[in-house]
């Protein structure tokens, strides 16, 4: 078997067919969407943080796309629960590929890391908005 089918081990197919944490969070602290325009993979991730906004309490995602992108989102959603925002921001490409547990062919890496990128971008934008709000409030004072 070549690399293609190796990518589609049972775990990947299971997460693709039965995605975990699929849906929306009503009390999301932040939500962010992203896509790979070339493939048409789309993912939206909702994240609910604890009161101090340091720890990820709940994650939900929804989307459409290839098995690699959707399974990656499903597996990442489990992994992120309980993680601090700081830890989440430190995740990189290799962590995601380790999580998937299969060799990802070079042309498919961007499918694998889409969910990671979406959640990290979403957190960054949220932090930025919080900062801005703080500055604006201070200025108003």
């Amino acid at each position: 078997m070549g690399m293609g089918s190796d990518m589609y081990r049972q775990q990947i197919l299971d997460h693709y067919k039965n995605p975990r944490n699929y849906g929306e969070l009503e009390e999301a602290t932040f939500s962010h969407a992203g896509e790979n325009p070339m493939c048409g993979d789309e993912i939206t991730i909702d994240v609910q943080l604890d009161e101090d906004e340091e720890v990820i309490e709940r994650v939900a995602f929804r989307g459409d796309g290839c098995a690699i992108s959707q399974a990656s989102a499903s597996m990442l959603s489990k992994e992120l629960t309980g993680m601090t925002v700081e830890e989440m921001q430190e995740l990189d490409r290799d962590d995601v590929i380790d999580l998937l547990g299969v060799d990802i062919s070079p042309m498919r890496v961007k499918c694998a890391v889409l969910a990671e990128k979406v959640v990290q971008d979403g957190a960054e934008i949220y932090e930025g908005e919080k900062e801005l709000e703080k500055t604006t409030t201070e200025e108003d004072d």
Binding site: M3, S5, L13, M38, C39, E42, I68
Partner: protein, 414 residues
Amino acid sequence: MGLQKSDALSPERIREDFPILQREFDGEQVVYLDNGATSQTPNQVIDAIADYYRNYNANVHRGIHQLSQEASEAYEEAHDTVAEFVGAEGREEMVFTKNTTEAENLVAYAWGLNELGPGDEIVLTEMEHHASLVTWQQIGERTGADVKYIPVTDEGYLDMDAAAELITDDTEMVSVLHVSNTLGTVNPVAELADIAHDHDSYIFVDGAQAVPNRPVDVKDIDADFYAFSAHKMLGPTGIGGLYGKADLLAELEPFQYGGGMIRKVSFDETTWHDVPWKFEAGTPLIAQGVGFAEAVEYLEDLGMDKIRRHEEALAEYALDRMAEFDDIEVYGPTDPTDRSGLVSFNLDNVHAHDLTSILNDSAVAIRAGDHCTQPLHDKLGVAASARASFYVYNTPEEIDKLIEAVDDARQLFA
């Protein structure tokens, strides 16, 4: 029977000219069905390019020495060979560009930016490739000209009634695909040229998917401009042809400036060289030009009518095989004589990229994605599709392998 035999291509014989088709991946011989993206290159073309570098490599047009004379002659004659292949007069109607996209940009910049303004209209089609769609969209934004699109019917044809209404006296340019790279549809470009000309509009035809697989005569079509790429017709990458009517090309402003495209330069002003050199600034695509001409000669030896029939037969066979399965959705016309040898499709519940990764295990190479037609895919309601595209060396047995490999994906995702 003898007549019938010589009437058809012999892919088994042709394959001998293509060393790459002997490649194996994990013991499986490659099944190359991605010819719409790029075709493979026969020994004859590889040898012609190697012969140029080994024996007469020199810069063209400017050397007095023997090597430069030989290179210049070969490069200039390549224009004539390619021109005549599509029914043009000769080099005065054939510009070598980097590819079809650059040809589209050449006309868009040299003509569109200079001539268009608010109130003018550019008419494209909904099946347009990004090469034309994005280029004219930008020209529209910069000049204030409106861009309109001829709709595609559910059956994958251009809506010609709508075309007749969309093309008006305000239309200055109609830019259409001869053959859709996604649907395979062969568009009635001669009819569209008539409509365009009735309204004093120019027509640019993108023939990237047509010239490789059917006889094309730019004069019969009455195209004002007609573009295609060498690498989709057994030639090298990095070169394409832009046909333009001689008087239009003569009037057109240059697209790029520099050496080779000038006649006389002073500190204050410059006059331009003759067509086509006016449009080929800097050291041109000499080795590629030599390879391009060789590819054209190879295709002529095979016979373009035979190639068209071969493509239709493979398309028909692929459509028939795919029709055996309810979970395969095929896009484009169902009549194989209305389409070229490419079939875009989706397998239910399997994303085109997953499908293509799995096909790769069986050494079956096809394309997956939006094929540079995102708006058309939006209209089809899918983000991506898989595309098998055939050429002179492909066989029905290879389509069987494709169908088998698709079944592997079906089983895996079941």
